[in-house]
């Protein structure tokens, strides 16, 4: 059979864009993307600012993608999840993927994150270590453009850094400079608090043909000027290099030949017509929900468990950094809503002996008032409607209250559990494609992490002299970090994992699965930088397969 392409990539997101850019020269590449390209960024910004609810999906609503490439971002339910505990993380299916609405925080995982079983007797170990991945982290920071403070981070929590960030750090918000001297040095839960600059994939200077951040404050769900990295940078470059990118093309099946290789895919365009494409190497990188869905949809009589699923692990071990936000009013103004929504964090609770029984967590210091707890419009409404203020008193009170609003968040590690999983729902989307059926249960491990997070937040608020403290009303009240991980875990054993440490399917030698789906455990770092590092690390194996 003659292949149409050397390489077919399923998913035009960050991984697909980076791979295509690096492999474009001399390789016939087709990227198939379920969602649309466009409209222009300014139009999406306009849709956001006039949307009735300022959700992650707001800029992207009201388009045909709501029907033909639906996701949890779309206004109607997408996940089919009958259980009491809900998996709340969302993602975006469009050219550029979820990088359109990610916040852009890119800390690295720390060494202990790779050895949870060895160190804390929970979860599993990764088949590689921090030291193995460290050089790739450095390259990843250059690949997507990270602004950070090398000296501040080098060696922190055991994570040595061999290279500097390509750009100096994003400057701290004014509020960070107010709270840092008051919080640094606090000893809580046997950890020393330190407010640190968060490494961010947003430019602090012109980089990669994109401007420096101008502090527009809407990183999630959309950067109006492209100063925050998004995958369109790589995709546009790949397209210019000759990579073919077909949007509005939902891959519905991977075809496995008798020799175990995947050489053909079927995809359905938004007009409902099915097409096929043939390739010598296939990479599935459609995020951690759509990727297992596709593998499971590709089952046949010969492989009833689905593609790449001899281990039975496809779809299992679904994870997110379940988080809580707490809000308070500080005695002094911190002037939020100026600059990125967060520029600093507290990383001290990302490791410690407590991880044997309780989630580690990463904290972000908000620069967005009360964040998810209450938006500024709702505060204004409260002052108008409840306090019945008007005139200059209203204006003064709006200023007095909102400029002192402050929030802290804790994002907790979720352990992999086989019953937290994605399977296929009998319910279908508008193209007749199954929606994801999600089973998810909150663990006591997370609950204990929430409790510890609440204790820490309360202590920090008290240290700041805060009033009007609004904590999550109970430890079960969590929100999503939208860090969807697991479902195609990597490992060295074909019987317990889906892919090897280079992302190659144990079952199909020319099939690679890349992205957050391959994480065996999730640590507490926002996952994108690790995804990029793993992607760059896999390039060698993919090139070898292409050359074979």
């Amino acid at each position: 059979m003659t292949a149409d392409y050397d390489l077919i990539i399923v998913g035009a997101g960050m991984v697909g864009g980076i791979l295509a850019t690096h492999l474009a020269s001399g390789t016939r590449i087709l990227i198939l993307e379920s969602g649309e390209k466009g409209p222009p960024r300014a139009e999406l910004v306009g849709a956001y600012v006039t949307a009735p609810a300022k959700t992650m999906g707001a800029p992207y609503h009201g388009r045909d993608g709501d029907r033909f490439s639906p996701s949890p971002d779309t206004p109607t339910d997408y996940y089919d999840q009958p259980g009491a505990d809900k998996f709340k993380a969302t993602y975006q299916r469009r050219y550029g993927g979820s990088t359109w609405h990610w916040r852009g925080n890119v800390p690295r995982l720390i060494p202990s994150d790779f050895q949870m079983q060895t160190l804390y007797k929970v979860g599993v170990d990764w088949p590689l270590t921090y030291t193995d991945l460290e050089p790739w982290y450095g390259l990843a920071e250059k690949e997507i453009g990270v602004s950070g403070d090398h000296a501040e981070w080098d060696g922190y929590l055991g994570a040595k850094r061999s290279t500097d960030y390509p750009m100096s750090k994003i400057w701290p918000a004014y509020g960070d400079t107010v709270v840092k001297p008051l919080l640094d040095g606090a000893l809580l839960e046997d950890r020393e608090v330190r407010v640190m600059s968060t490494p961010q994939a947003r430019n602090s200077q012109p980089y990669d043909d994109a401007p420096p951040c101008a502090g527009n404050s809407t990183c999630d769900p959309i950067c109006p000027i492209g100063a925050k990295y998004d995958a369109t940078r790589h995709l546009n470059r790949a397209a210019q290099a000759g990579v073919e990118i077909r949007t509005q093309s939902v891959v519905t099946r991977l075809h496995v030949d008798v020799d175990g290789r995947v050489r053909q895919v079927t995809y359905r365009t938004w007009d409902g017509v099915d097409h096929t494409a043939k390739g010598r190497v296939v990479i599935v990188t459609a995020h951690a929900i759509e990727t297992p869905k596709l593998l499971l949809m590709s089952r046949t009589n010969e492989i009833p468990e689905g593609v790449a699923n001899r281990s039975g692990q496809v779809g299992r071990n679904l994870m997110d950094h379940l988080q809580g936000q707490a809000a308070a009013v500080l005695p002094m103004p911190v002037y939020p809503f100026r600059g990125p929504p967060t520029t600093s964090g507290i990383d001290a609770f990302r490791d410690g002996p407590f991880r044997a029984t309780s989630s580690a967590f990463r904290m972000s210091v908000g620069n967005d008032g009360w964040g998810l707890v209450q938006g500024p419009y709702a505060t204004a409404l409260e002052l108008i409607r409840e306090e019945k203020l008007f005139g200059k008193a209203l204006r003064q009170r709006i200023r007095d209250v909102i400029t002192r609003q402050f929030r802290l968040s804790y994002s907790t590690e979720t352990l992999p559990h086989p019953d937290n999983r994605v399977t296929l729902s009998p319910q279908q989307d508008a193209l007749g494609i199954p929606r994801p059926l999600i089973s998810f249960q909150l663990s006591d491990y997370n609950r204990r992490g929430f409790e510890m997070g609440r204790r820490v937040v309360r202590a920090l608020f008290e240290r700041l002299g805060a009033t009007d403290i609004a904590m999550p009303v109970d430890a079960n009240l969590y929100s999503a970090a939208n860090h969807i991980m697991g479902t195609c875990r990597m490992g060295t054993s074909a019987s317990t994992s889906v892919v090897d440490p280079e992302g190659r399917s144990h079952d199909h030698p020319n099939l690679f699965i890349l992205g957050g789906s391959t994480f065996p455990t999730c640590g507490t770092a926002n996952p994108s930088l690790t995804i990029v590092a793993l992607t760059l690390r896999s390039l060698g194996a993919i090139k070898r397969e292409l050359a074979a």
């Binding site: 400057w171 502090g215 809503f337 100026r338 005139g391 008193a393 909102i402």
Partner: protein, 134 residues
């Protein structure tokens, strides 16, 4: 009430209720938005009441509070007018209704708190490290 009188009255009412220098060029669009809502039929009586209080009241703040803000007839609409200027939106049973992008960018809440409207900072890298100038 003539169209001109209604608009002039709406500007005066809005200026008083918000305590801010409202942009009069937005007023016509906002008045039209108010009139298009189900509560819009009550805007001219509210404007007329405010105008009469302006003329006759010896304690305007007290009279506005008692006869408009605390009035079950006029209070809810007055609140919507304030909300419109501060947020560019109406709120009804937790449903928010915004206008145009330009109206979003000109919402009064942002200058009131020394910030900029989301998605339009007009600033330069790092401005957020310093407190606002106003």
């Amino acid at each position: 009430m003539t169209t001109d009188d209604a608009l002039a009255g709406f500007v005066a009412l809005s200026r008083y209720l918000t305590g801010a220098d409202i942009a009069s060029d937005l007023a016509a669009a906002y008045l039209a938005r108010v009139k298009a809502e189900r509560f819009g039929t009550r805007i001219e009586p509210l404007i007329a009441l405010f105008r009469s209080l302006e003329q006759s009241s010896t304690d305007l703040e007290s009279d506005v509070r008692s006869q408009i803000i605390q009035s079950s007839e006029h209070g809810p609409l007055a609140q919507q007018v304030m909300l419109l200027w501060y947020t560019s939106a109406f709120e009804d049973s937790s449903q928010w209704k915004f206008g145009t992008p330009d109206q979003h960018f000109r919402a009064l809440i942002w200058p009131a708190i020394g910030a900029h409207p989301p998605a339009l900072s007009g600033g330069y890298f790092g401005y957020w490290k310093y407190p606002p100038e106003h």
